[in-house]
Protein backbone atom coordinates (compact mmCIF):
# COMPACT_ATOMS: atom_id res chain seq x y z
CA UNK A 1 0.00 0.00 0.00
CA UNK A 2 1.20 3.51 -0.78
CA UNK A 3 1.69 5.18 2.58
CA UNK A 4 1.73 8.64 1.05
CA UNK A 5 -1.67 8.30 -0.49
CA UNK A 6 -3.18 7.09 2.74
CA UNK A 7 -5.22 10.14 3.48
CA UNK A 8 -7.95 10.63 5.94
CA UNK A 9 -10.71 9.81 3.49
CA UNK A 10 -9.16 6.46 2.66
CA UNK A 11 -8.77 5.75 6.33
CA UNK A 12 -12.38 6.59 6.98
CA UNK A 13 -13.27 4.18 4.22
CA UNK A 14 -11.28 1.54 6.04
CA UNK A 15 -13.21 2.30 9.17
CA UNK A 16 -16.43 2.13 7.21
CA UNK A 17 -15.48 -1.34 6.07
CA UNK A 18 -15.34 -2.35 9.65
CA UNK A 19 -11.63 -3.01 10.01
CA UNK A 20 -11.07 -0.36 12.64
CA UNK A 21 -12.75 1.12 15.62
CA UNK A 22 -11.98 4.77 15.19
CA UNK A 23 -14.23 7.63 14.26
CA UNK A 24 -12.68 10.97 13.47
CA UNK A 25 -13.85 14.28 14.77
CA UNK A 26 -10.82 16.05 13.39
CA UNK A 27 -10.62 19.35 11.57
CA UNK A 28 -12.51 21.00 14.36
CA UNK A 29 -10.43 24.14 13.96
CA UNK A 30 -9.46 26.54 16.67
CA UNK A 31 -9.45 25.44 20.22
CA UNK A 32 -11.72 28.30 21.18
CA UNK A 33 -15.25 27.15 20.65
CA UNK A 34 -14.06 23.65 19.93
CA UNK A 35 -15.67 21.00 22.00
CA UNK A 36 -15.31 17.35 21.31
CA UNK A 37 -18.51 15.66 20.43
CA UNK A 38 -19.54 13.72 23.46
CA UNK A 39 -21.33 10.48 22.89
CA UNK A 40 -25.01 10.80 23.57
CA UNK A 41 -24.84 8.14 26.17
CA UNK A 42 -21.76 7.36 28.14
CA UNK A 43 -21.09 4.17 29.96
CA UNK A 44 -18.94 4.07 33.04
CA UNK A 45 -16.22 2.48 30.92
CA UNK A 46 -15.97 5.49 28.58
CA UNK A 47 -13.09 7.83 29.18
CA UNK A 48 -11.33 10.75 27.59
CA UNK A 49 -7.61 11.45 27.37
CA UNK A 50 -5.27 13.77 25.47
CA UNK A 51 -2.19 13.04 23.40
CA UNK A 52 0.48 15.75 23.36
CA UNK A 53 3.59 15.09 21.35
CA UNK A 54 6.98 16.40 20.29
CA UNK A 55 7.15 19.49 22.46
CA UNK A 56 10.97 19.72 21.98
CA UNK A 57 11.43 22.02 24.95
CA UNK A 58 14.73 23.87 24.49
CA UNK A 59 14.50 24.12 20.71
CA UNK A 60 15.58 27.41 19.19
CA UNK A 61 15.42 28.18 15.49
CA UNK A 62 13.55 29.70 12.55
CA UNK A 63 10.95 26.87 12.28
CA UNK A 64 9.40 28.22 15.50
CA UNK A 65 10.58 31.62 16.77
CA UNK A 66 7.97 31.30 19.54
CA UNK A 67 9.34 27.99 20.82
CA UNK A 68 9.75 29.36 24.33
CA UNK A 69 6.02 29.99 24.71
CA UNK A 70 4.30 27.29 22.63
CA UNK A 71 4.32 24.70 25.40
CA UNK A 72 3.26 27.20 28.07
CA UNK A 73 0.39 28.40 25.88
CA UNK A 74 -0.65 24.80 25.30
CA UNK A 75 -0.82 24.17 29.04
CA UNK A 76 -3.16 27.16 29.37
CA UNK A 77 -5.30 25.95 26.46
CA UNK A 78 -5.60 22.47 27.90
CA UNK A 79 -6.56 23.89 31.29
CA UNK A 80 -9.29 25.91 29.57
CA UNK A 81 -10.90 22.93 27.84
CA UNK A 82 -14.54 22.47 28.72
CA UNK A 83 -14.05 18.77 28.92
CA UNK A 84 -11.06 17.87 31.02
CA UNK A 85 -9.27 14.61 30.25
CA UNK A 86 -8.81 11.87 32.81
CA UNK A 87 -5.14 11.76 31.89
CA UNK A 88 -2.65 13.07 29.34
CA UNK A 89 -0.02 11.11 27.42
CA UNK A 90 3.13 12.70 26.01
CA UNK A 91 4.40 10.62 23.10
CA UNK A 92 8.06 11.58 23.18
CA UNK A 93 10.56 14.29 22.30
CA UNK A 94 9.61 16.17 25.42
CA UNK A 95 12.89 18.07 25.10
CA UNK A 96 15.15 18.99 22.22
CA UNK A 97 18.40 17.09 22.25
CA UNK A 98 21.75 18.48 23.31
CA UNK A 99 25.25 17.02 23.68
CA UNK A 100 25.53 18.78 27.05
CA UNK A 101 24.33 16.37 29.75
CA UNK A 102 23.75 19.20 32.25
CA UNK A 103 21.71 21.20 29.76
CA UNK A 104 19.70 18.07 28.93
CA UNK A 105 18.73 17.73 32.59
CA UNK A 106 18.00 21.44 32.85
CA UNK A 107 15.59 21.19 29.93
CA UNK A 108 13.91 18.13 31.42
CA UNK A 109 13.49 19.94 34.73
CA UNK A 110 12.01 22.97 33.00
CA UNK A 111 9.66 20.81 30.94
CA UNK A 112 8.46 19.06 34.05
CA UNK A 113 7.91 22.36 35.82
CA UNK A 114 5.83 23.71 32.90
CA UNK A 115 3.58 20.65 32.55
CA UNK A 116 3.16 20.64 36.30
CA UNK A 117 0.91 23.63 35.58
CA UNK A 118 -1.64 21.33 33.97
CA UNK A 119 -4.78 20.95 36.03
CA UNK A 120 -4.85 17.28 35.13
CA UNK A 121 -2.32 15.58 37.35
CA UNK A 122 -2.33 12.11 35.80
CA UNK A 123 0.43 12.40 33.20
CA UNK A 124 2.05 9.53 31.30
CA UNK A 125 5.39 10.21 29.68
CA UNK A 126 7.49 8.42 27.12
CA UNK A 127 10.79 9.27 25.52
CA UNK A 128 11.67 10.36 22.02
CA UNK A 129 15.09 10.05 20.44
CA UNK A 130 15.81 13.67 21.38
CA UNK A 131 15.30 12.79 25.03
CA UNK A 132 16.99 9.43 25.20
CA UNK A 133 19.16 8.39 22.27
CA UNK A 134 22.41 10.11 23.23
CA UNK A 135 22.64 8.65 26.74
CA UNK A 136 20.51 5.49 26.41
CA UNK A 137 17.76 7.18 28.40
CA UNK A 138 19.81 7.82 31.56
CA UNK A 139 18.70 11.41 32.16
CA UNK A 140 15.15 10.67 31.01
CA UNK A 141 14.76 7.92 33.60
CA UNK A 142 15.99 10.23 36.36
CA UNK A 143 13.14 12.63 35.60
CA UNK A 144 10.34 10.53 34.15
CA UNK A 145 10.86 6.92 35.18
CA UNK A 146 10.82 3.75 33.14
CA UNK A 147 11.32 3.81 29.38
CA UNK A 148 8.79 1.01 28.81
CA UNK A 149 5.88 0.08 31.03
CA UNK A 150 2.20 -0.73 31.01
CA UNK A 151 -0.87 0.35 32.92
CA UNK A 152 -4.61 -0.26 32.88
CA UNK A 153 -7.42 2.23 32.71
CA UNK A 154 -11.11 1.31 32.75
CA UNK A 155 -10.61 -2.02 31.05
CA UNK A 156 -8.08 -0.85 28.47
CA UNK A 157 -4.51 -2.12 28.69
CA UNK A 158 -1.97 0.59 27.80
CA UNK A 159 1.55 -0.41 26.73
CA UNK A 160 4.40 2.07 26.35
CA UNK A 161 7.05 0.83 23.93
CA UNK A 162 10.51 2.41 23.85
CA UNK A 163 11.90 2.57 20.31
CA UNK A 164 14.31 5.45 20.90
CA UNK A 165 16.79 4.80 23.70
CA UNK A 166 18.73 2.65 21.26
CA UNK A 167 20.22 5.18 18.80
CA UNK A 168 19.54 2.72 15.98
CA UNK A 169 15.78 2.80 16.74
CA UNK A 170 15.53 -0.83 17.85
CA UNK A 171 13.09 -2.07 20.44
CA UNK A 172 15.45 -4.92 21.20
CA UNK A 173 15.00 -8.57 22.10
CA UNK A 174 14.74 -7.87 25.83
CA UNK A 175 11.86 -5.45 25.50
CA UNK A 176 10.11 -7.63 22.92
CA UNK A 177 10.26 -10.52 25.41
CA UNK A 178 8.78 -8.19 28.04
CA UNK A 179 6.01 -7.19 25.60
CA UNK A 180 5.11 -10.84 24.92
CA UNK A 181 5.10 -11.53 28.63
CA UNK A 182 3.05 -8.42 29.46
CA UNK A 183 0.36 -9.31 26.92
CA UNK A 184 0.37 -13.06 27.50
CA UNK A 185 -2.19 -12.94 30.31
CA UNK A 186 -4.68 -10.97 28.18
CA UNK A 187 -7.60 -12.34 26.24
CA UNK A 188 -7.31 -11.88 22.46
CA UNK A 189 -10.32 -9.50 22.58
CA UNK A 190 -8.78 -7.28 25.28
CA UNK A 191 -8.66 -3.62 24.18
CA UNK A 192 -5.01 -2.57 23.97
CA UNK A 193 -3.58 0.89 23.34
CA UNK A 194 0.09 1.14 22.42
CA UNK A 195 1.90 4.41 23.04
CA UNK A 196 5.23 4.90 21.35
CA UNK A 197 7.33 7.56 19.67
CA UNK A 198 8.40 6.31 16.25
CA UNK A 199 6.03 4.56 13.86
CA UNK A 200 6.22 0.82 14.42
CA UNK A 201 5.66 0.22 10.72
CA UNK A 202 7.92 1.41 7.89
CA UNK A 203 6.10 4.66 7.19
CA UNK A 204 8.98 6.23 5.25
CA UNK A 205 12.35 4.63 6.02
CA UNK A 206 14.07 7.07 3.64
CA UNK A 207 13.50 9.70 6.33
CA UNK A 208 14.15 7.31 9.18
CA UNK A 209 10.40 7.18 9.91
CA UNK A 210 10.36 3.59 11.05
CA UNK A 211 11.43 1.28 13.86
CA UNK A 212 14.26 -1.12 13.10
CA UNK A 213 12.45 -4.14 14.56
CA UNK A 214 8.94 -2.69 14.53
CA UNK A 215 7.67 -5.65 12.52
CA UNK A 216 8.48 -7.93 15.44
CA UNK A 217 6.37 -5.80 17.78
CA UNK A 218 3.51 -5.72 15.28
CA UNK A 219 3.70 -9.52 14.99
CA UNK A 220 3.21 -9.77 18.75
CA UNK A 221 0.31 -7.29 18.67
CA UNK A 222 -1.42 -8.94 15.69
CA UNK A 223 -2.52 -11.77 17.96
CA UNK A 224 -4.93 -9.33 19.61
CA UNK A 225 -8.08 -8.15 17.88
CA UNK A 226 -8.44 -4.67 19.35
CA UNK A 227 -5.14 -2.79 19.20
CA UNK A 228 -4.66 0.91 18.54
CA UNK A 229 -1.29 2.67 18.38
CA UNK A 230 -0.76 6.35 19.10
CA UNK A 231 2.65 7.77 18.25
CA UNK A 232 4.55 10.98 17.44
CA UNK A 233 7.91 11.66 15.77
CA UNK A 234 6.64 12.75 12.35
CA UNK A 235 5.05 16.05 13.54
CA UNK A 236 1.80 15.60 11.63
CA UNK A 237 -1.38 13.57 11.61
CA UNK A 238 -1.14 10.26 9.84
CA UNK A 239 -3.45 7.26 9.96
CA UNK A 240 -2.66 3.78 8.80
CA UNK A 241 -3.70 0.17 9.25
CA UNK A 242 -1.44 -2.87 9.54
CA UNK A 243 -3.87 -5.75 9.53
CA UNK A 244 -6.45 -4.95 12.18
CA UNK A 245 -4.11 -2.55 14.04
CA UNK A 246 -4.78 1.18 13.65
CA UNK A 247 -1.79 3.55 13.88
CA UNK A 248 -2.35 7.29 14.50
CA UNK A 249 0.40 9.89 14.68
CA UNK A 250 -0.23 13.27 16.28
CA UNK A 251 0.77 16.79 15.38
CA UNK A 252 3.69 18.29 17.23
CA UNK A 253 3.89 21.30 19.50
CA UNK A 254 7.06 22.77 17.99
CA UNK A 255 6.97 22.75 14.16
CA UNK A 256 5.29 20.67 11.46
CA UNK A 257 7.19 18.37 9.12
CA UNK A 258 6.20 17.78 5.49
CA UNK A 259 4.19 14.73 4.39
CA UNK A 260 6.39 11.67 3.93
CA UNK A 261 8.38 11.80 0.69
CA UNK A 262 6.73 15.03 -0.44
CA UNK A 263 10.08 16.81 -0.81
CA UNK A 264 13.72 15.71 -1.10
CA UNK A 265 14.60 16.43 2.55
CA UNK A 266 12.64 16.15 5.78
CA UNK A 267 13.16 19.84 6.57
CA UNK A 268 10.56 21.50 8.81
CA UNK A 269 7.72 23.38 7.17
CA UNK A 270 8.86 27.05 7.20
CA UNK A 271 7.32 29.22 9.91
CA UNK A 272 4.58 31.51 8.68
CA UNK A 273 4.32 34.71 10.77
CA UNK A 274 0.74 35.20 9.55
CA UNK A 275 -0.16 31.73 10.81
CA UNK A 276 2.32 31.06 13.60
CA UNK A 277 0.60 27.96 14.91
CA UNK A 278 -0.08 26.36 11.57
CA UNK A 279 0.33 22.63 11.79
CA UNK A 280 0.73 22.59 15.57
CA UNK A 281 -1.74 20.85 17.79
CA UNK A 282 -2.74 18.06 20.10
CA UNK A 283 -5.35 15.34 20.15
CA UNK A 284 -8.31 14.41 22.25
CA UNK A 285 -9.25 10.74 22.35
CA UNK A 286 -12.70 9.67 23.42
CA UNK A 287 -12.51 6.00 24.29
CA UNK A 288 -15.99 4.58 24.11
CA UNK A 289 -16.51 1.27 25.76
CA UNK A 290 -12.79 0.70 25.49
CA UNK A 291 -13.15 -0.32 21.84
CA UNK A 292 -14.07 2.71 19.76
CA UNK A 293 -11.90 5.79 19.70
CA UNK A 294 -13.18 9.15 18.59
CA UNK A 295 -10.30 11.47 17.73
CA UNK A 296 -10.48 15.25 17.88
CA UNK A 297 -7.56 17.32 16.59
CA UNK A 298 -7.05 20.61 18.41
CA UNK A 299 -5.10 23.58 17.07
CA UNK A 300 -3.12 25.63 19.53
CA UNK A 301 -3.71 29.04 17.98
CA UNK A 302 -4.20 30.90 14.75
CA UNK A 303 -3.72 28.51 11.84
Amino acid sequence: MDFNSQNRREFLQLVGLGVGGVVFASGLGQLSGCATSRPKTQSEDDFYFLQLSDTHWGFKGPPNPEADVTLKNTVNLVNALDRQPEFIVFTGDLTHTTDDADLRRKRMGEFKQIVDGLNVKSLRFMAGEHDASLDAGKAYQEFFGELHYSFDHKGVHFVVIDNVSDPGASIGQGQLAWLRSDLQRLDSQQPIVVLTHRPLFGLYPQWDWSTQDGDAAIAVLQKYQNVTVFYGHIHQEHHFMTGQIAHHSARSLIFPLPPPGSQPKRAPVPWDPAHPSKGLGFRGIDAQGGRDYRLAEFSVGKE
Binding site: L134, G168, A169, Q206
Partner: protein, 121 residues
Protein backbone atom coordinates in the same frame (compact mmCIF):
# COMPACT_ATOMS: atom_id res chain seq x y z
CA UNK B 1 50.93 36.30 -17.56
CA UNK B 2 49.63 33.48 -19.75
CA UNK B 3 52.44 31.21 -18.53
CA UNK B 4 51.62 31.99 -14.89
CA UNK B 5 47.95 31.20 -15.52
CA UNK B 6 48.90 27.90 -17.19
CA UNK B 7 51.15 26.95 -14.25
CA UNK B 8 48.32 27.69 -11.83
CA UNK B 9 45.98 25.53 -13.88
CA UNK B 10 48.47 22.62 -13.86
CA UNK B 11 48.89 22.89 -10.08
CA UNK B 12 45.10 22.89 -9.63
CA UNK B 13 44.76 19.86 -11.88
CA UNK B 14 47.45 18.00 -9.91
CA UNK B 15 45.71 18.82 -6.63
CA UNK B 16 42.40 17.61 -8.07
CA UNK B 17 43.97 14.35 -9.19
CA UNK B 18 45.46 13.82 -5.72
CA UNK B 19 42.09 14.50 -4.05
CA UNK B 20 40.34 12.08 -6.37
CA UNK B 21 43.04 9.48 -5.79
CA UNK B 22 42.56 9.91 -2.05
CA UNK B 23 38.82 9.45 -2.11
CA UNK B 24 38.26 7.05 -4.96
CA UNK B 25 40.31 4.15 -6.25
CA UNK B 26 39.99 0.66 -7.64
CA UNK B 27 40.57 -2.41 -5.53
CA UNK B 28 42.53 -5.45 -6.67
CA UNK B 29 39.21 -7.13 -7.36
CA UNK B 30 38.29 -4.35 -9.76
CA UNK B 31 35.84 -2.76 -7.39
CA UNK B 32 35.36 0.97 -7.34
CA UNK B 33 36.48 2.04 -3.86
CA UNK B 34 35.01 5.28 -2.54
CA UNK B 35 36.12 6.72 0.79
CA UNK B 36 33.38 8.51 2.73
CA UNK B 37 33.79 10.38 5.98
CA UNK B 38 30.97 10.86 8.46
CA UNK B 39 30.82 13.55 11.12
CA UNK B 40 28.14 15.61 12.84
CA UNK B 41 26.10 16.27 10.68
CA UNK B 42 27.37 15.46 7.22
CA UNK B 43 28.73 12.83 4.92
CA UNK B 44 31.59 13.74 2.62
CA UNK B 45 31.06 13.32 -0.23
CA UNK B 46 27.32 13.62 0.14
CA UNK B 47 26.72 12.74 -3.50
CA UNK B 48 28.23 9.40 -4.50
CA UNK B 49 28.38 8.60 -8.21
CA UNK B 50 28.55 4.94 -9.22
CA UNK B 51 27.94 2.94 -12.38
CA UNK B 52 25.28 0.36 -13.12
CA UNK B 53 26.48 -3.22 -12.56
CA UNK B 54 29.98 -2.05 -11.52
CA UNK B 55 30.97 -3.38 -8.07
CA UNK B 56 31.47 -0.69 -5.42
CA UNK B 57 33.06 -0.58 -2.00
CA UNK B 58 32.15 2.35 0.23
CA UNK B 59 34.79 2.82 2.93
CA UNK B 60 33.36 4.79 5.81
CA UNK B 61 35.24 6.42 8.65
CA UNK B 62 33.67 8.49 11.40
CA UNK B 63 35.52 11.62 12.46
CA UNK B 64 33.72 11.98 15.77
CA UNK B 65 31.12 9.51 17.06
CA UNK B 66 28.82 6.64 16.14
CA UNK B 67 26.91 7.21 12.93
CA UNK B 68 24.87 5.03 10.61
CA UNK B 69 24.42 4.66 6.89
CA UNK B 70 21.13 3.54 5.40
CA UNK B 71 19.88 3.43 1.82
CA UNK B 72 16.39 1.91 2.14
CA UNK B 73 15.83 1.86 -1.63
CA UNK B 74 18.96 -0.27 -2.14
CA UNK B 75 18.56 -2.23 1.11
CA UNK B 76 21.98 -1.11 2.37
CA UNK B 77 22.63 -0.48 6.04
CA UNK B 78 25.76 -0.18 8.19
CA UNK B 79 26.94 1.09 11.54
CA UNK B 80 29.91 3.48 11.37
CA UNK B 81 31.94 3.36 14.58
CA UNK B 82 34.52 6.01 15.37
CA UNK B 83 38.06 4.73 14.92
CA UNK B 84 37.11 1.90 12.58
CA UNK B 85 36.77 1.54 8.83
CA UNK B 86 33.37 0.23 7.79
CA UNK B 87 33.11 -1.25 4.31
CA UNK B 88 29.85 -1.58 2.40
CA UNK B 89 30.03 -3.66 -0.78
CA UNK B 90 27.32 -3.65 -3.39
CA UNK B 91 26.65 -3.85 -7.11
CA UNK B 92 24.21 -1.15 -8.29
CA UNK B 93 21.50 -2.99 -10.17
CA UNK B 94 19.18 -0.13 -11.03
CA UNK B 95 19.58 3.35 -12.44
CA UNK B 96 18.53 6.40 -10.49
CA UNK B 97 19.13 8.63 -7.49
CA UNK B 98 18.76 7.00 -4.10
CA UNK B 99 18.76 9.00 -0.87
CA UNK B 100 20.81 7.84 2.11
CA UNK B 101 20.86 9.05 5.68
CA UNK B 102 22.45 8.54 9.06
CA UNK B 103 20.28 6.11 11.00
CA UNK B 104 22.07 6.31 14.35
CA UNK B 105 20.76 9.36 16.20
CA UNK B 106 23.76 11.67 16.60
CA UNK B 107 22.42 14.95 17.98
CA UNK B 108 20.68 18.17 17.01
CA UNK B 109 21.23 18.18 13.26
CA UNK B 110 20.98 14.41 12.83
CA UNK B 111 17.95 14.89 10.61
CA UNK B 112 20.10 16.87 8.15
CA UNK B 113 22.77 14.19 7.80
CA UNK B 114 21.97 12.69 4.45
CA UNK B 115 23.07 12.36 0.84
CA UNK B 116 22.43 10.62 -2.44
CA UNK B 117 23.80 7.72 -4.42
CA UNK B 118 23.56 8.40 -8.14
CA UNK B 119 23.68 5.35 -10.39
CA UNK B 120 24.37 6.03 -14.06
CA UNK B 121 25.31 3.94 -17.11
Amino acid sequence: MALSWARSLIVLLLISVRVLAGSEASSAAGEQVIKVTAKKFEFSPSVIAVHLNAPVVLEFTSLDRLHGFAVPDLKLEAEIKAGETTRVRFVPDKLGTFPFHCNRFCGSGHEDMNGQIVVTN
